[in-house]
Amino acid sequence: MDRVRWTAIGKIALAVWMAVVIILAFLMPAQNLGSLGQAARVIFFHIPSAWVTVVAFMISSVFSILYLVKRRRVDDHRAVNASVLGVVFCILATVTGAIFATITWGSPWNWDPRETTIFFLLLFYAAYFVLRSAVADEERRAVFSGAYNVLGLVVVPFLVFIAPRLSVLAGLHPEPLINVRGELDMDWRALVIFLSSLAGFTGIFGWSYSLANRVSRLQDEILEQD
C-alpha cells in the first residue's frame, strides 16, 4: 500500500481515537477525578488545547528565526500557518478555561498566573496578525512578523518566571489542577484518557498544519506557473 493509503488509515484512526477519548472522558465515573466533580472533565480538553497552542507558538518562532536567517519564503508560510492554528487552539483553551473557572470559582477571569500567560499568548497572536495586515510589501511583512515573533519568544520566559510571583493573585488557578496532575496524582484511568487526548490533539494539529503548508505551497506553485 502506498503512502497515501497509510496516511488515510492514520487519519481514520485519529477520528476513531478521538471519538473514543471523548466518550471515555464523559463516561468515566466522576469520583475518580478528584474533588472537582464533573467539571474536572474539562481537563481532558482544556490542557491539551493549551499544550498545542504553546507548541504552535514554538514552531512558529523556530520558522521565524529560520526565515530571518535563510530568507526562504516557505519558512515564512510555515511560521504563519503555525500561528493561525495556534490562535485557534488558544481561543479554545481560553474559553474552556473560563468555563471551568466560572463553574469552579464563580468568575470567568481573575488574572492568576496561568490565565495571564494564556491571555498574553492570545494578545500576542492578535498583534502578530495585525502587524502582518499592516505591511503591504511581502518581504517586509515576513521580516517584520518574523522579528516580532522572536521578540515574543524572548518575552515568554519572563512571563513564565514572573507569573508565580504575582503575590496578590497567586494561588487561584493551578492548585487543584496541579494537585490532580502532580501531587495527588490523577487516577490512572484519568491519566490514560488525558494522555490519549493530548496525543489526539497533537495529531489534529499535525494534520491541520501539514494541510495548511500544502495549501501555501500550492499557492506558490500556481503563482509561479502564471
Binding site: 498574553f120 499592516a134 505591511v135 522572536v150 521578540l151 518575552v155
Partner: protein, 226 residues
Amino acid sequence: MSELWAWFVAAWAVCAKDLRSEFRTRYALSAIGLFAITTLTVISFALGPFGLEQDLLAALLWVVLFFAAMAGLSRVFVHEEESKTAPALRLAAPASAVYLGKYLFNLVLLLLLEVLIVPLFIVMMGLQVGNFGLFALVLLLGNLGLAGATTIIAAMVSQASARGALFTVLSFPLLLPLLISTIEGTRLTLAQAELASPWPSFQVLLAYAVAMVTVSLMLFPAIWTE
C-alpha cells in the same frame, strides 16, 4: 578599539541630533507630557474622592506612564519616515548605531517625562514613597526595559500603516512582563509596603532590559535596511 569608539560616536551623534531638534521644538516632550498630565488629571478627578490604596496607586502610576509612552515613543522613527530623512540616516550611520542612538533618546524622553509626572502624581494622588532611592531605581530600570521594547517596535511601525494604533497593539504584549514587575517593584518601595524585598523585581527588570536591547540590536539591521 577605535572602531568601537567610532560606533559609539555615531550612536551618540544620532541621539544628539534628536535631542537638539527636540530641544528646539519640544514637540515630543510636549505631546508626551501633556498626554500624561491629561491622563493624570482624569484619574485624579475621577478617582480622587475614593481614597485609593497605595498598592492601587503604584499600578496607576505605571498606567499613566505606559499610555504616555505609547503616545510618544514611536516618534523617533515615525518622524524620520514622515519627514523623509530616513534614507539619509540609513546612509549616515551603521544600523546598530542608529538603534542605540534612538534608544538613548527614548530613554532621555522617558526620564524627562518622569521628572515632570512623578512629583505631580505624588502630590495629586497622595502616593507615599517609603524609600526614594529604591523608588527612583525602579523607575530607571523600568525605563530601560520600556525603551528597549518600544524602540524596535517603533522602527517597524514607521514602515507600516495605521501607525498610532499599531504601535500600542504591538508594544503591549511585549511590555506585559515589564509592567507586572515594575508595578510590583514600585509597590514594594512605598511607605506601607510589607517588608518584602523589591530586589527580585529589580533583577527581573534588569534582565528584561538587557534581553530586549540585545535582541533588538540583533534584529534591528534586518528591519532598518531595505
